[in-house]
Structure formats: structure tokens, C-alpha cells
Symmetry: C2
Subunit: 317 residues, 2 copies
């Protein structure tokens, strides 16, 4: 899928390992662990993809790509502290290896390192996009935390939350790509909208997989959202349409649910059309993403934008 | 002491409350709690003081002052999560009121908000100073964590640590003041050195007070450093010079010490000349701070620089 940015992403890996090097060995060790734990590098990949419409140099483009991934890593390491998570993508989390103390600080270090890398390079407009999106993500996460175990939520509440939690950052990654190579404000706006729709589709798919996938597929226990009281789109649909809605409501509102109850909750959701409905929303967002690809993007480059949208629609992990 | 920047600091309080306002009410609530918990506002006060040698506007100067204090608040809120602290300055910590989840995110939010405020306003050089100092603080904190309960440490290990943990940020606050109003690089360097020496003196005094003050004076339990295994200057001195050095060594290396043992440790330290020695170091740093005040700073303004040095030397809380 990401053939067009493959060499950029390879270079990114080397650069990531290089910038996280600190005189404080423990910082280097933990950061290296985080880089090597991998990940899809979706955000920098999209950023790179959005720079391809103009000729530019790696020297000009790379720092922001590194910053984007470092910020993503920082949010993940703090998420794992918050959730007391022991594994991510099948590998041990930083907090499970080095404790919360170092993990909170590593997150702060990665945030600061990210800004340090771009402070001298990016335009003020780009810096503003980057900082605003972190504020938005924190708002989304805090909102999510506040609304756990609450059954009375609308689809709009959910959409607003995943917009802040996920889609805004993916939108910003695309926008930053356009800004980095000086595309017109119209094109940059379109790239942002592409990223936004992609991000919404990405998060809804994530929330579907938490209900339908096997734990091997997604590298974490199934039903995790329900367990943590996070009310996602399929749950909201089922709470409205299921014949067993009262029982589901009870399950959603209960903290420290038994595994049996979680299984029952998942089964109630799956017995409705919640999954089909949610996939329909994914497909709507992806259609919209495809429809806003700027006309100036053509050929192999345009195909790549389509391929990413296809990938987000099909992924099962 | 801070008469010369009194009106700036008053305005800062209003501005702090205004910038932390978020559509997500919980963010506003927690941030408001943090702002209203107060603090000495030492860093922005020094920053303001260092801008006074040139005529400038509040519009130009204020954003960085807010950013400096927000970053300080962010590090404190993360420190309290890490240390599981329930009170700070005699008031409840954010983590004790709202839990670790929201507190980690609030710290991230404040970091991002700080950068967001200055991204459009400050020069690239100023942004670089700000981001580098956060990296340095994280390195210092991680270093401190790694070296807890280790008795074999030199004074240089300690000095390096408090430089990163405390002095660098106070140095940066002064440097940023000079940069904000375009002082010469020589003057800005001197202001940085003033701040650095002040910061070293400030932290050594903190570490002395942890041994000599009453818990009412400092708003937290006495002997806290010893309890947490943090090896400070008086401890290093006593480990070298006390007749009971072997007993102290044992105490320093023991985790989960009894209150009786901590008391005994404090008494061993106080029976040496550790406190006098440490105060001598404070006084050396303050003399140096006074000696580097740029010659261009005169009159009432110069007196303020001296008054701050006097204050750091005399403070007992």
C-alpha cells in the first residue's frame, strides 16, 4: 500500500533511532524499545504521501515526520501508563518493563524532543497545527474517560470524541504534508479533509474489531472497550435497536464486569445490525475521503491515496 | 522582593486562568485548581525581570511568561502522579482529586497549550531554548530516579542532576527574558548564568530544608528525600564525614524505611557540618549570580536582581 513512501519510511526508522539518543542511557533504552515495538507509522506515511505532489528535499520534510511519530509514541506510552496496560501489539509496554515513573517522563521527553526538532524548521503555522492537535487529543481522551460506563450517549457524542481522539491527528498529519511543500490552501484543506475522513473510518474500524476480531488478530483482549466502559458506535446502535437493550444497558453501566457478562454483551451487540451499520459508516467516510483527493494529484500518486482508503476499509488487525 | 514585576505577575494570573479554559469542562476545572494552588511564580517573575532593561509591550512579552509557568505546572502535576503525592504546598494534588488518568492528560495538555501559545509568537531560537530545557528536565528526573537508594555518589553527580532538574529551567527563564526584548548575546548569556546560579542555590536550599525545616514550613513531610532514596548534598557530605557514616549508608540504601530510621538518618546528618557546608555552596552560587548581573542593568532594576539573590539565600519555606 505504502510503496510510494516506502523509502521515506525506511529512512524514518533510522532517523527515529538517531534522534532519541540521549546521554541518559535509560532514556535511549526505553525510547529504542518504543521505536522497535514498531507500529503502522500511519501518520508519517500519510504526511509523506501528502508531500509528494511537489519536489522537495528530505532535509526539509523529515523533521516533521519524526515529530509526528514521536508525538504519537508519547501519547501511546502515556495511554499505557493510564490504562495499566502490560502489552501493546503483542509486546511488553514501557510501564510494564520500567515502571510508571520513567514512562511518564519518557512521554514528556518525546513530546519535548518532537517540538525541539521542528522548532527551528517548521513555519509558525505548522507548529500551531501540531500543538493544537495535541490539545485536542487530550480533550478527547479526558472526555472519553469522563463518559465511561454511561449508557445514555448519542452517535454524535461518539463521533465528536473519536474526532478529537484520532481523526484530528491524522487530518493534521495530511495538512502538515501539504504545508511542508507549500501546496495551495485549497489543496491543503482538501488533504486535511481526506485525513479526517480516513481517521474517522480508522477509529470506527478499531472499535468494530474490538467486538468482532480474535485477540490474536488485534494483539489485545477482545471486548476491551466494553470492559473499560468505553461506549463505541456498535454499542450505541445496539442500545437503541436490540431486543435485549435493557440487559446490554446494565452491562455497559457495570464496572468490573465478569468475563461471562462481557461475552454476553458482545453477543447481544452481534445479534443486531450494529456491525453492518458501523461498517456502513466506515464506508461512507472512505467514500468521502476518496471524493476530496485534490484533482492536482494524479497517476500513481492518486492511486496511493485510493489504496490507503481501501486498506483502512479492509484491515482486520 | 518582586515589586518591579508585581503588576506583570498580577496580569499573569488573569492570563493563566484565561488560556486554560477548554470546552472540556474537566480540563478547565483541573487546570483552574492547579493555577489557584498558587506557587512562587519564580520562573515567570525572573523572565519578566530580565525583560525590564528594554521597552517592550505586554503583548510581545506575556505569551512566553504564560508558557513558562504552564510548563512548570505540567512538570509538577506529572511529578505528583509519579510520586503518588496527595498534597503540594498544603493543598490536595490533582491526582488525589481526579485520579492519575486525568492528571497525566492534563500535564500533556498544559505542555501542548504552552507550545501552542508561543508557536506563533516566539523566535525559533526561543522555542529551541524552551524545548531543550524540557528534555533536560526529563533527563534529570530520570537520572534522579535511577540513582535513588545509591550511597556511592559524588558531589558532581548531585550537581549535574540538580542542574538538569532545576537550574537549567531557571537559567532558560532568564535567557528567554533577554531574548524576548533583543538584548545582546553577551547580556543574554550573563542573564542565563545569573539564572543558572540562582537555580543551583534554590535547589540546594530546597534539599537543605528537607532536612532542617518543620513539615509546616515546607508544606510536606520532612525527610521526604531520604524516604524516597534521593541522595542530596548534605547526605553526600555526611556519608563522607560522619563518624556514623556506616549507619547512614545503611539507611540511605534501605527502601521503605521506618520513620524512626529516617529520624535517625536526619540526626546523623545534622550532627555533621553538612548543613553549614551546603549553605556555603548556596552562598557561593549566589555570590556568583550577583557578580554576573550585566553592567547595563542599573538602579532599581539592579537592586531587584540583588533582592532575588538575597531571597533565595534566606528563604525558609
Amino acid at each position: 500500500m505504502f510503496e510510494i513512501v516506502k523509502s521515506d519510511l525506511l529512512l524514518l526508522e533510522t532517523e527515529l533511532l538517531s534522534v532519541i539518543h540521549s546521554p541518559e542511557k535509560l532514556i535511549t533504552d526505553i525510547s529504542k524499545h518504543l521505536v522497535e515495538a514498531g507500529g503502522k507509522r500511519l501518520r508519517p506515511a500519510l504526511y509523506f504521501m501528502c508531500t509528494k505532489n511537489q519536489v522537495s528535499t528530505m532535509e526539509k520534510i523529515m523533521p516533521m515526520a519524526i515529530a509526528i511519530e514521536l508525538i504519537h509514541m508519547a501519547t501511546l506510552v502515556h495511554d499505557d501508563v493510564i490504562d495499566n496496560a502490560t502489552t501493546r501489539r503483542g509486546k511488553s509496554t514501557a510501564n510494564s518493563c520500567w515502571g510508571n515513573h520513567s514512562s511518564v517522563l519518557i512521554g514528556d521527553y518525546l513530546f519535548a524532543k518532537a517540538f525541539s526538532l521542528v522548532a527551528n524548521k517548521a513555519s509558525n503555522e505548522m507548529l500551531k497545527v501540531l500543538t493544537d492537535v495535541i490539545c485536542s487529543m487530550c480533550e478527547g481522551e479526558i472526555n472519553q474517560n469522563r463518559s465511561t460506563f454511561i449508557a445514555d450517549q448519542t452517535e454524535n457524542d461518539y463521533l465528536k470524541r473519536i474526532e478529537q481522539k484520532t481523526a484530528d491527528f491524522i487530518a493534521a498529519s495530511c495538512e502538515l504534508g501539504g504545508l511542508a511543500v507549500g501546496l495551495s490552501s485549497e489543496e491543503t484543506k482538501a488533504l486535511r479533509e481526506y485525513g479526517y475522513s480516513l481517521g474517522m473510518a480508522f477509529q470506527i474500524t478499531d472499535d468494530i474489531l474490538d467486538i468482532t476480531a480474535s485477540s490474536e488478530q488485534i494483539g489485545k483482549p477482545v471486548g476491551n472497550d466494553l470492559r473499560q466502559g468505553i461506549v463505541t458506535l456498535p454499542v450505541i446502535f445496539a442500545l437503541e435497536h436490540s431486543a435485549d437493550r435493557d440487559e446490554l444497558r446494565e452491562i455497559v453501566q457495570t464496572k468490573n464486569m465478569s468475563e461471562e457478562k462481557i461475552k454476553r454483551g458482545l453477543s447481544i451487540i452481534q445479534d443486531t445490525e450494529a456491525i453492518e451499520y458501523s461498517y456502513k459508516r466506515v464506508s461512507d467516510y472512505l467514500d468521502h475521503a476518496r471524493s476530496v483527493i485534490p484533482a492536482s494529484i494524479t497517476g500513481e500518486h492518486r492511486e496511493a491515496f485510493h489504496a490507503v482508503a481501501d486498506f483502512v476499509g479492509l484491515r482486520s488487525y
